[in-house]
């Protein structure tokens, strides 16, 4: 089943007919995704169906095909093609992702973890360290204020002075979410934000994510079906590198293909 766009203008991110092969394995075989602005879109599918690979390709972490294969599809973000960008350039367009395993800067404090994140800081250019000290000070002040706001928003102010290596798994998840907010994203891609943490905290994280939805588009990979069907505006279902279904939670719940993909054809 292919998904056809009905109105191009309202799409924030379009990834059309993406191919990606690893050696002979087709991880993505013509996957197509359309993400509407300021919605929460979920991507579900069985393990190994290519969800994370799709994230990696969309955010330019992986080239879309092997170098030997010609056309691997196209990725359009805010009406501009971004396929040829490198990963950090793609991130600068306002499309920020998290990773399945929490990755943090272990020997930096929580506050510093947030302060590293803002893109294009004046103090990150080598010459500016020596030339524009005043501007750096101002910017650091601004960023610190913002970081404190983020800490308040995520209710993790109490770990402000702790090193990331001293935090628990759930706190680290919140911290990666906070780092993402420091970058002023317009689209955030979350790769299993609730994996490996307890349900109470998972709900807290989900609440925070929903609060963000006013300004930011959210694209989510998640295995927790309660969360996906309760909160999503739209759901994409992947199986073996292809999109097999797309629709509102109600439509997906009754879709035969999805049930087959998850539970096998005999079910």
């Amino acid at each position: 089943m292919t998904v056809e766009p009905d109105d191009c203008d309202q799409y924030h991110l379009e990834a059309e007919d993406i191919h990606r092969h690893f050696g002979g394995v087709k991880a993505l075989d013509g996957a197509t995704v359309f993400v509407k602005k300021n919605k929460l879109i979920s991507l579900i599918g069985p393990n190994g169906s290519g969800k994370t690979t799709l994230f990696n390709v969309v955010t330019c972490w992986l080239p879309k095909t092997d170098p030997f294969d010609e056309d691997g599809g196209k990725v359009v973000f805010e009406k501009e093609r971004i396929d040829d960008l490198s990963a950090h350039e793609a991130a600068l367009t306002g499309m920020i992702r998290t990773f399945q395993t929490t990755r943090n800067w272990q020997r930096l404090t929580t506050l510093e973890n947030l302060l590293v994140a803002p893109p294009n800081q004046t103090g990150e250019s080598f010459l500016n360290i020596f030339l524009k000290r005043k501007k750096i000070r101002e910017e650091e002040r601004k960023n610190t204020l913002k970081a404190i706001e983020v800490l308040e928003f995520l209710e993790i102010m109490h770990i402000r002075d702790q090193l990331a290596e001293e935090l628990s798994g759930g706190q680290l998840k919140l911290l990666s979410l906070g780092r993402l907010l420091m970058t002023v994203p317009s689209l955030i891609l979350l790769d299993e934000p609730m994996a490996g943490i307890n349900p109470t905290l998972g709900n807290k994280i989900m609440d925070k994510i929903l609060e963000l939805k006013e300004n930011v588009t959210i694209f989510l990979i998640e295995h927790n079906m309660d969360v996906v069907f309760n909160y999503s505006d739209e759901i994409f279902v992947m199986a073996s590198g292809k999109m097999i279904a797309h629709g509102t939670p109600d439509e997906i719940e009754t879709n035969r293909d999805v049930i087959e993909a998850y539970l096998g054809e005999d079910y």
Binding site: N56, W61, L62, F99
Partner: protein, 359 residues
């Protein structure tokens, strides 16, 4: 203009390739199973040379001279080299690398540690055996100049010369000249690769080793005693290197010293990276490429330096030239490494990507 003795150069390169193959098997094994480059490998080579030489001295001292051949020959020395260096390989793992792994120390710590081990061993050997094992320190005066005793083995210094052309106006002199030691190196290196390749592919032990190489945690879960496998890997890797070094030693024309192995460290790494980590057959091709590239540099650069060569032409017509010294042959591994890492970071047939992990 007559050609240089290309055939002779080709023979020299072939033996050098054999040496590289023989001495990089251990490096490749450690690299593929433990995923880190062991910079102390060079010292295993040196240690293997010294150990076999030392055993030769001991045997020559203990055994009556003319009945010694059965016990006092190159193969016995090589086995001794295998044992000594193998034990040192395990010692390094138990005393240093195992602890570092338990500390979850990064790759950099392991690299620094292996370099430090190399430094310790190198200087220790220099103290124990002196900078040069000089022939006059040996009890049997002919031992070092004639490493194999006559009788049991064909004399390793026996030279085979096949002359194809002599004093031809165009082809110059072309001959193949190789001594028994050189032939032994080539034969042993191929035999070693085939044996190790067989062990890796077809024996239970080799399969356990490959499982450990893929993922230590997974192998542990599937019931492989990874600790034992790691120890065997070190023993076998170090031992084979020591044995190879013992077989290489008689081929050396000059005296060797505690730095002999260190000088070969870069070619070793070039072979493993070009051939591909974990691929012993790739190593053969890589060793041949590197050995021939090196020898070709020697031939071509010295040809440039002849009267009427490129150096003179450049000087005359452009007024600027650099020195095409055959000494640049030592830089060949560096050039090859750069090219490989830019074009194909996995090497010819490797499984480990040289670039940092992505995502």
């Amino acid at each position: 203009m007559t050609l240089p003795n290309l055939l002779n150069h080709a023979t020299l390169a072939l033996v050098y390739a054999g040496v590289l193959i023989m001495l990089t098997i251990g490096l490749n094994m450690v690299y593929s199973v433990l995923k880190f480059s062991n910079f102390a490998h060079a010292e295993w080579v040196t240690m293997g040379m010294f150990a076999s030489w030392w055993f030769l001295q001991i045997l020559s001292y203990i055994l009556p001279w003319d009945t010694a051949h059965l016990l006092n020959n190159l193969f016995v020395h090589a086995v001794f080299g295998f044992l000594i260096v193998g034990i040192f390989g395990i010692l390094g793992e138990v005393l240093v690398f195992d602890r570092l792994r338990k500390l979850k120390a990064g790759l950099d710590s392991a690299i620094v540690a292996s370099i430090a081990i190399g430094l310790i061993v190198r200087n220790f050997l220099a103290m124990v055996f002196g900078a040069y094992p000089e022939p006059n320190r040996a009890i049997c005066p002919t031992c070092t100049s004639q490493p194999s005793l006559p009788g049991f083995l064909p004399d390793l210094n026996n030279i085979v010369t096949i002359k194809l052309v002599e004093n031809d106006p165009i082809f110059g002199t072309q001959w193949i000249r190789i001594n028994a030691s050189g032939i032994l190196i080539i034969v042993t290196s191929i035999a070693m690769v085939l044996a190790i390749d067989y062990v890796f592919r077809h024996t239970k032990f080799g399969i356990a080793m490959r499982a450990t190489a893929d993922s230590i945690e997974l192998a542990q879960v599937s019931g492989v005693d990874t600790r034992r496998i790691v120890h065997y890997t070190w023993f076998l890797a170090a031992g084979l290197t020591g044995m190879g070094a013992a077989i290489y030693r008689p081929y050396l024309t000059g005296p060797f010293n505690s730095l002999t192995g260190l000088y070969m460290l870069l070619p070793f790494f070039a072979v493993v990276i070009l051939g591909g980590v974990g691929s012993f057959r790739g190593g053969i091709i890589a060793a041949i490429i590197i050995a021939y590239a090196r020898q070709a540099t020697v031939v071509i650069f010295s040809w440039f330096q002849y009267p009427g060569g490129l150096e003179e032409i450049l000087e005359e017509h452009i007024g600027f030239t650099i020195t095409f010294s055959p000494g640049y042959a030592d830089a060949i591994p560096f050039v090859i490494l750069i090219i490989v890492l830019l074009i194909r970071p996995r090497g010819i047939a490797g499984s480990v990507e040289a670039t940092r992990e992505r995502v």
